[in-house]
């Protein structure tokens, strides 16, 4: 395939990949971040202990997290159709991506918040903070570098999942590599799309790492 034909294909697919990654990451974080906070604060010994709720939430999250993405994609077909209007295409892939990613993000956020020294929380309590103030002014800000580091990992994972979009008629670089590359034996298409995918993951990883170090005032 000539460059004149290949380049627009690569460009369109990159835009599609970024579109899927961006929206599913954003919405999955909107769900996963509060859940991660809940996992930490409702735990026994947390600032708002609710052990039963915490256990139920933990089990639900673990259950969702154990379903492989490709299975989730299939199982959610009818739900996706109801929510998005169609179950096929680039846009519709965002929904199962969100459902797969938010439990993963919740656990990631939980891990980041766990790194905040319990003594700092106690100090905030001793100063007369409300629980909301502790969450918004202590727990989350203190965990920012770790949250950013975790976000880079989550986003690259979601980016990897988008490569399976072709299974539901979605686009993106993964679909390009498989449908218009591998399946029709156009290896130049396959390799250039794959390389671009790898480059995107690298870019996010490096950028995430830099940002984490920049934001961290504790370890330098």
């Amino acid at each position: 395939m000539t460059w004149e034909k290949l380049l627009p294909l690569l460009w369109d697919s990159t835009v599609e990949t970024l579109y899927m990654t961006f929206w599913s990451s954003l919405i999955a974080y909107a769900v996963g971040l509060p859940l991660g906070v809940l996992l930490v604060v409702t735990r026994k010994g947390g600032i708002m202990p609710a052990p039963t709720f915490n256990a139920v939430l933990g089990v639900a999250i673990n259950f969702l997290r154990s379903i492989p993405f490709i299975i989730m994609l299939a199982v959610l077909f009818p739900v996706t159709r109801a929510v998005i209007g169609t179950a096929i295409g680039t846009k519709s892939i965002v929904f199962p991506l969100i459902i797969s990613a938010f439990p993963y993000i919740a656990r990631m956020v939980e891990g980041s918040l766990d790194e905040v020294d319990h003594g700092i929380i106690e100090a905030a309590q001793s100063m007369g903070s409300t629980n909301w103030q502790i969450i918004t002014k202590v727990l989350l800000p203190e965990a920012v570098p770790s949250l950013v580091n975790g976000a880079a990992i989550c986003v690259t994972t979601i980016l990897g999942y988008t490569a399976m979009a072709s299974a539901a008629g979605g686009g993106g670089l993964g679909a390009l590599a498989i449908v218009k590359g591998l399946n029709v034996r156009k290896f130049d298409v396959m390799y250039s799309a794959s390389l671009l995918l790898v480059a995107l993951v690298q870019l996010i990883t490096v950028f995430g790492g830099r940002l984490t170090r920049r934001l961290d005032h504790k370890h330098r």
Partner: protein, 333 residues
């Protein structure tokens, strides 16, 4: 007058797998306004549990804690938060916000109380001046020494204009020099701002340097309490004597008979030892001496080897008592 803090029948039991820990048993203490009240005990004696019950970071199993006559255990969340702002706390590990600058740390209590930003920033600079860190406003805690971190913690504690300051081993992570400067700062805060200080430590030197009252905890029980002068000169409890280095810590070390001479304000200046040598002809063997300034008075204790001859011993004891000294026969490690 109502005491600032009154602890009545306080007990704390921690359930642990297969049993329970009696961290505190029936503690009764009264802390008056303006006190620098020291609570001392060995590791595991229940000191942290006690101070954490005072602002309800821990909930007692039994008993009452009255802050200016009000039972903190009966307060709802809102009242509790308001009371906690009146009783600030500092910690051994400083517990600063590591991702926030020094100024933002000190501003935190003002932020959560809704103080306008401009007013808050002015107050922050004033507080940093009090603790001598006005040039570190924009530094981050990780860039500071231990002593500087504790100063930031103290400035932060003072931000809410508290009436009480609770210190849980505030100097235990610091070297001796830095400890001195932090203790001096606490004393200044007590004297100039009239803040009642409750101070927890495992070091008797800290108590003797700045406290006026002391309580000795031993295995969750209150072994002894009173003015520092009193407890030091007439130590009654085994725990107290151990903390003063009188009884051996471990049983294996054979105790050595000794005479403990306690120096109070007047007699410390007298050249006791040379008098003993000259006037009694005793060959004085000093085992240990620990004499320092306390509340503008020379204070301390000295251990000398006990003469084997009972007559000589009696002579020495009478001579020292004649000089108005507090002396007793003890055993030292």
């Amino acid at each position: 007058m109502t005491p600032q803090i009154e602890i009545r029948g306080l007990s704390k039991i921690y359930p642990i797998p297969g049993g329970e820990v009696h961290a505190l048993t029936n503690i009764n203490l009264t802390i008056e306004k303006g006190d620098i009240y020291g609570i001392i005990g060995m590791s595991g004696a229940g000191k942290s549990t006690l101070i954490r019950c005072l602002n309800r970071l821990d909930t007692p199993t039994d008993g009452q804690i009255l802050i200016d006559g009000e039972n903190i255990l009966a307060m709802d969340k809102k009242q509790l938060r308001a009371t906690r702002r009146r009783m600030a706390m500092i910690f051994q590990q400083f517990n600063l916000l590591m991702q926030k600058s020094v100024a933002r740390n000190v501003r935190y209590p003002l932020e959560i109380a809704g103080v306008p930003k401009k007013q808050a920033n002015e107050r922050v600079m004033e507080l940093l001046r009090i603790v001598g860190l006005e040039d570190k406003a924009n530094a981050f805690p990780a860039q500071l020494s231990g002593g500087q971190k504790q100063r930031v913690a103290i400035a932060r504690a003072l931000a809410s204009d508290p009436e009480m300051l609770l210190c849980d081993e505030a100097t235990s992570a610091l070297d001796p020099m830095t400890t001195q400067s932090i203790l001096a700062l606490l004393q200044k805060i007590n004297q100039e701002l009239g803040i009642t200080v409750v101070l927890i430590t495992h070091e008797m030197a800290v108590i003797r340097q700045i406290c006026n009252k002391v309580a000795i905890l031993d295995g969750g029980l209150l072994a002894e309490e009173g003015t520092v002068d009193d407890v030091f000169m007439h130590t009654k409890s085994a725990a107290g004597r151990r903390l003063f280095g009188i009884l051996p810590d471990q049983e294996e070390i054979p105790p050595q008979p000794a005479i403990r001479i306690v120096f109070d304000g007047e007699s410390a200046e007298q050249p006791i030892i040379s008098k003993l040598v000259k006037e009694i002809g005793l060959d004085v063997n000093i085992l240990s001496a620990d004499i320092r300034q306390l509340n503008q008075k020379a204070y301390g204790q000295m251990m000398i080897a006990r003469p084997d001859d009972p007559f000589e011993l009696q002579q020495v004891m009478e001579y020292l008592r004649g000089l108005g000294m507090t002396v007793e026969e003890v055993h030292v490690p």
